[in-house]
């Protein structure tokens, strides 16, 4: 990247070389320097509630079995047999006490330990030739959870997840902790789009500006109570720690009235009052902001909205969690889950699921138009003309870098971080600035593991 350091400088000024959205070289650096270090979301504990439950998830090309062992502990095991490298588990989800490799029959417990090695004595001379004891499928270098969200990092020295999230954890609770039991996830829907992964992450982080244009149609068909999509500019965007998002401004009222306005039933409101801090409650009840879309660097996003799901005036909220999983510079696999408070009434869960399907995911009426834009942007970014173009991502900034509007003072915004009312690309800049920081730092070589032999070696 040394010859591209000017590129990172431009990004830091809020000017985006258009080709970063479709460039082999940039993608190679993202793989080597970003996805090799950052915390990446792979699933939620509610997807594997019982010992033996597992799901298989990827971080770029690396497949991991995310399994709950008999000891109830969640692990992410690299899905490669220690013998000749066959994929040990070829299902996407299921329940198993052991995984048996189909090639030569080595078998592993669901905590990764190698327990079965056919003809260990005859073929290897037993422990003397191959140390079976203490061999396990390679665990992800780091694994950590927050509110049941499971993240892995390819960096064994990754900071604790809570430190990585920083003050964004404050906002994460609105999506993932509405009661002491937290959320449960369903899904994911998965589909591949010919779009660069950064576009979705940036959009969810802070693009309130696209709503009135891109999403005109959903407002026109009466999916929302507010008759005008321009309402978005009354909300604010915030950035805190390693993530940021957008909010809507709610009409005046008490905390309860405002939560009822977005469709939460009183039983759920009571539990929110139990688990959220005074500041978390004040952001809604006092300041009148309700979280909507958000992203955690690099590729995890959230959305919370409250459409009509029936021919009535009532609205109902839903939450979606998704990752923008890079496949290549011009292709992304979207994994989109529906999330709901585990303690919510069953009828609420059903209707919230319906709200999700109508708005987001593979069939969502919002999402349909978003993706169309991102695909077309990506294909345009792949040519030589795009290399001449520096896109302006400075919305909200004046020429001298002063902000167009001042940040919200603490008495009008109770959350941590920095928040601005109205349209701005503050969060897209935050996200890409972090991206630049990662891409600048050369990758370190990883430790190598010698299967079945004593000792470990480090690559030169």
């Amino acid at each position: 990247m040394d010859d591209q350091s000017h590129l990172l400088e431009e990004v830091r000024r809020g000017m985006i070389p258009a080709h970063i959205y479709n460039d082999e070289e940039v993608f190679r650096l993202e793989r080597e320097r970003l996805f090799s270090r950052a915390w990446v979301f792979v699933g939620h504990e509610s997807e594997i509630p019982q010992p033996g439950d597992y799901v298989v998830r990827r971080v770029l090309e690396d497949s991991f079995i995310v399994a709950r062992g008999e000891d109830h502990q969640v692990r992410a095991l690299f899905n490669m047999c220690l013998h000749r490298g066959m994929q040990v588990c070829r299902a996407e989800m299921g329940h198993a006490s052991h995984f048996r490799c189909p090639y030569h029959g080595w078998s592993y417990r669901n905590d990764g330990r190698l327990v079965g090695l056919p003809f260990h004595k005859e073929a290897y001379g037993g422990e003397a030739g191959f140390r079976r004891k203490s061999q396990t499928l390679l665990p992800a270098p780091a694994l950590d959870t927050y509110n049941g969200l499971i993240f892995v990092s390819m960096d064994p020295d990754a900071p604790p997840l809570r430190d990585y999230l920083g003050d964004f954890a404050f906002y994460l609770d609105y999506y993932t902790r509405q009661s002491p039991s937290g959320i449960e996830l369903r899904g994911p829907q998965r589909w591949r789009v010919k779009a660069n992964w950064k576009i979705g992450a940036e959009n969810f982080a802070g693009d309130m500006y696209h709503t009135p244009q891109t999403h005109t149609s959903v407002v026109e068909i009466g999916l929302f109570r507010e008759p005008k999509a321009e309402k978005r500019k009354d909300g604010c965007t915030y950035w805190a720690g390693n993530g940021g998002g957008t909010t809507y401004k709610l009409p005046p009222g008490t905390l309860e009235e405002r939560l009822r306005y977005v469709g939460y039933p009183d039983v759920m409101i009571e539990r929110m009052k139990q688990v959220w801090s005074p500041e978390q409650l004040d952001l809604v009840g006092h300041d009148g902001f309700m979280v909507s879309a958000a992203s955690v660097f690099p590729n995890l996003s959230f959305v919370h909205n409250w459409p009509r799901v029936e021919d009535s005036d009532d609205v109902l909220p839903f939450i979606s969690i998704r990752t923008w999983q890079p496949v290549g510079p011009d292709e992304t696999e979207v994994l989109s889950w529906f999330a709901v408070d585990a303690e919510a009434p069953e009828e609420y869960k059903a209707l919230s699921y319906k709200a999700y399907l109508m708005c987001f995911g593979s069939t969502g009426m919002f999402e349909q138009d978003d993706v169309e834009n991102w695909v077309s942007l990506t294909s345009t970014a792949g040519g030589s003309m795009a290399r001449r173009l520096l896109l302006n991502s400075r919305m909200g900034l004046l020429e001298d870098d002063a902000t167009v509007v001042p940040p919200l003072p603490p008495e009008r915004f109770s959350g941590p971080g920095e928040a601005y009312v109205g349209y701005g690309e503050y969060n897209q800049r935050h996200l890409l600035r972090r991206w630049a920081d990662y891409l600048e730092r050369p990758a370190e070589s990883a430790e190598r593991i010698h299967v079945g032999r004593g000792g470990k070696a480090v690559t030169a």
Binding site: R90, A91, E92, M93, G94, H95, A96, R186, G187, P188, Q189, R190, W191, R192, V193, K194, A195, T214, T216, S217, V218, E220, I221, G222, L223, V309, E310, D311, E333, F338, E346, K349, A350, Y353, K354, L357, M358, G361, S362, T363, G364, M365, E367, Q368, D369, V371, E372, N373, V375, S379
Partner: protein, 206 residues
């Protein structure tokens, strides 16, 4: 979740998917009886004709007319398929679908396409629904038949983008219209053949 896991090996076409959806409570529960009807059977000929006419409406995106072919209690379901071990007893994500629709939500989707701001279909896709492998079954009610079919959707957008192909099996429950003329769709289960869809969205119907 438990009921899905306890289920016997999936049939690959049809089955109790509708009943297992949290939103399928209103769906008519009638199931097929016996073997498929002879191809010469009047009911089979009518069902096949119905599917071909419907495919034309979907290709041409005449969605208002299509909506008129659906009963008011329709359940339109497209589960999310997952790869599971043989013998796992389920082949779709518990509690999750791509489509899990009633008449109201389908009508909103159709209404959206009728606005001038549904960008994903402006310019419109060129669509072709190929319908084949049609088998018709009687049910316990002479006013209903179950129809299995295979559908292949070819969706081409713009000039140089690669076209998307979606392959699926469908199980439909057709109900004789109250005036005795023709049939209406009362339940559809779409079993898509991909776990990861290779189309940018499902701004189409199958």
């Amino acid at each position: 979740m438990t009921s899905a896991r306890a289920r016997q090996r999936p049939t690959g076409n049809g089955g109790p998917y509708s009943a297992e959806s949290a939103l399928g409570g209103h769906a008519p529960a009638l199931q097929r009886t016996g073997r498929s009807l002879p191809f010469s059977d009047e009911r089979h000929l009518q069902a096949h004709h119905w599917l071909v006419e419907e495919a034309y409406l979907l290709d041409a995106q005449h969605y208002d007319e299509w909506l008129d072919l659906l009963t008011d209690d329709i359940h339109y379901l497209m589960p999310v398929r997952v790869s599971t071990a043989l013998g796992a007893g389920y082949d779709s994500a518990p509690g999750m679908a791509h489509f899990d629709e009633n008449k109201y939500s389908l009508s909103r989707r159709v209404a959206r396409f009728a606005t001038e701001h549904a960008w994903t279909e402006d310019p419109p896709s060129r669509l072709r629904h190929y319908v084949t492998n049609v088998r018709t079954f009687a049910t316990e009610d002479p006013g209903h038949v179950v129809v299995d079919s295979a559908v292949l959707l070819y969706r081409s957008r713009g000039d140089v983008r690669e076209a998307a192909v979606v392959s699926a099996g469908r199980e439909d429950l057709l109900r004789r219209a109250s005036d005795g003329e023709g049939w209406l769709l009362a339940r559809r289960t779409i079993l898509v053949d991909d776990a990861v869809l290779r189309t940018q969205n499902l701004a189409i119907f199958l």
